[in-house]
Amino acid sequence: MPIAADETETGEKLLANLLSPGAVDRDEVGKWRLIGGCCARCETRMFPRAPICPSCSADHVVAEPMSQEGVLYSFTTVHVSPPQWHKPMRVGYVDLSNGVRVFSHLKGALEIGATVRLDIGEVGSSSNGEPLANFVFVAEQT
């Protein structure tokens, strides 16, 4: 189950061990969102935000919050991967409404074309046993 980043001890521990802290933040009402980038010159959008535009090399890439839901393009359940990841590991590509595709850990009842929503959850554990938290996309139970 995805763990809401609330005041519980587990939630705080997860936040302290966020895998990509620069790529996520919370909106006005406290919901998680991904922070991508948009090129000020050619409007190429990307996730994560790059220091310069990967399409036109312009220097100015503006930070841009992205949609908190997307459509599952494809996914798989992996049984063999480096030791830090929980197995079976469910990962896939999520297509966002701004044209950006995000590789992400997944939870819920997955199927291609399903609407998935952003959350934070535990996806693995570090070599010293600390939980590894990351953004995850969650499919609603059907």
């Binding site: 895998l19 990509s20 190429t44 959008r45 990307m46 996730f47 994560p48 990967p54 393009y73 494809s74 996914f75 798989t76 359940t77 992996v78 049984h79 063999v80 991967s81 480096p82 990841w85 590991m89 990962v91 896939g92 590509y93 297509d95 044209g99 950006v100 595709r101 590789f103 992400s104 850990h105 291609i112 996806v123 693995g124 990351n134």
Partner: protein, 379 residues
């Protein structure tokens, strides 16, 4: 531009050789290729060595064992396309007139990692998020199954064919034919792949002698002509991509066919990059061996079997021959050279005149693949 031929081909049987050093793994392949060409090792004017995890100066370490030193030695890393990229550089150099005789070596020792998935570059964003090669191919497979109705059983048939071919190849790592049931019952790796739909971890080496065409017949009566040598990199995009269309291979195939002046219907035998079962099916379509969505029908028709109209992976491919990644491209060419010479015994593709090799790979974010190298040969 000068014509280029392959006059020497050699490899060591792929397998698990944890106790052998990289140099000890590869020198027998280099020696075999030089002897196959019938040349004095001192005729070699330059060497290109493909390896991914071989470490510093792989080529020098290997070639010090066989008396091929003092010449320019260039070490090439391009993921699964490393030694095919090495060949492309050798072909370019001979075409340009820089050298007449060049040695190409490909070598990899994957058993040094102990097992598991291929270690990818941790600086890559997706790798840092958990991406592994089986997952990348599995997502292609899931989408293809969704879009075209391919079944688990049809997917497993790729492994059945290539394992049967590998059973006929003394250089293959996996030498036992398997049934569809065995493929499907093997342990799950990344849905829909079971173990027998994934290339094995192993070690190996292969080598080629590249020679200017006008000189070739001094050494061998049957030089194999290089009709096309194409190297491409993937096109980066942070946006959507159709994962059932391997764009880098589609582009490379178009370029290679144009360069060679042949089309898909002219290919008698092909070694395609079947790292996972789905890959071979995607590449049938990418090369135009069949239309979109018809790959499994092509396989089931028997057209890609050894006695079919276009034999694909008669060596057993990566699934059975093995995939020591830096050695793969050169080893594919060894197979095609032997097929075009008629040296393949029980797995010989009768009357093969035109052959193709295709090595593509490199799991990095935003790319279909990092690199793709395609060669077309004729006798």
């Amino acid at each position: 531009m000068r014509e280029v031929t392959i006059i020497g081909a050699g490899m060591v049987p792929f397998g698990k050789f944890p106790d052998r050093s990289l140099a000890d793994l590869a020198w027998p392949a280099a020696k075999a290729a030089i002897e196959d060409a019938g040349i004095d090792p001192r005729k070699v004017q330059a060497a290109y060595c493909g390896s991914v995890f071989g470490g510093m100066m792989s080529g020098q370490r290997v070639l010090a064992r066989v008396g091929v030193t003092g010449i320019p030695i260039i070490n090439v890393e391009n993921a699964c396309s490393s030694s095919s990229s090495a060949l492309s550089q050798a072909v370019m150099a001979v075409r340009a007139g820089a050298y007449d005789m060049v040695l190409v070596v490909g070598v990899e020792k994957l058993t040094k990692f102990g097992g598991g998935t291929l270690p990818l570059e941790k600086e890559d964003w997706e790798v840092a998020q958990g991406q592994v090669m089986p997952a990348l191919y599995a997502m292609r497979a899931k989408r293809y199954m969704h879009d075209f109705g391919l079944t688990d059983r049809q997917l497993a048939l790729v492994s059945v064919k290539n394992r049967a071919n590998g059973a006929l190849n003394p250089d293959a790592q996996m030498r036992k034919a398997v049934s569809v049931e065995e493929v499907l019952a093997s342990r799950p790796i990344a849905d829909p792949f079971t173990l027998l739909q994934c290339c094995p971890t192993g070690d190996g080496a292969a080598a080629l002698v590249v020679c200017e065409a006008g000189l070739a017949r001094q050494y061998r009566p049957d030089p194999v002509r290089v009709l096309a040598s194409d190297l491409a990199s993937g096109r980066y995009t942070p946006g959507f991509r159709d994962m059932t269309i391997p764009e880098i291979t589609v582009r490379g195939a178009r370029e290679a066919f144009e360069e060679a002046g042949v089309g898909p219907q002219d290919i008698d035998v092909a070694e395609l990059h079947d790292a996972f079962s789905i890959a071979e099916l995607l590449y049938y379509e990418a090369f135009g061996f069949c239309a979109r969505g018809e790959a499994s029908a092509l396989l089931e028709s028997g057209a890609t079997a050894i006695n079919g109209t276009i034999a694909v992976n008669p060596s057993g491919g990566l699934l059975a021959k093995g995939h020591p990644i830096g050695a793969t491209g050169a080893a594919q060419v060894v197979e095609i050279v032997r097929q075009l010479r008629g040296e393949c015994g029980k797995r010989q593709v009768e009357g093969a005149r035109v052959g193709l090799t295709h090595a593509t790979g490199g799991g990095i974010a935003g790319f279909d693949h990092g690199a793709c190298c395609i060669h077309i040969f004729a006798r």
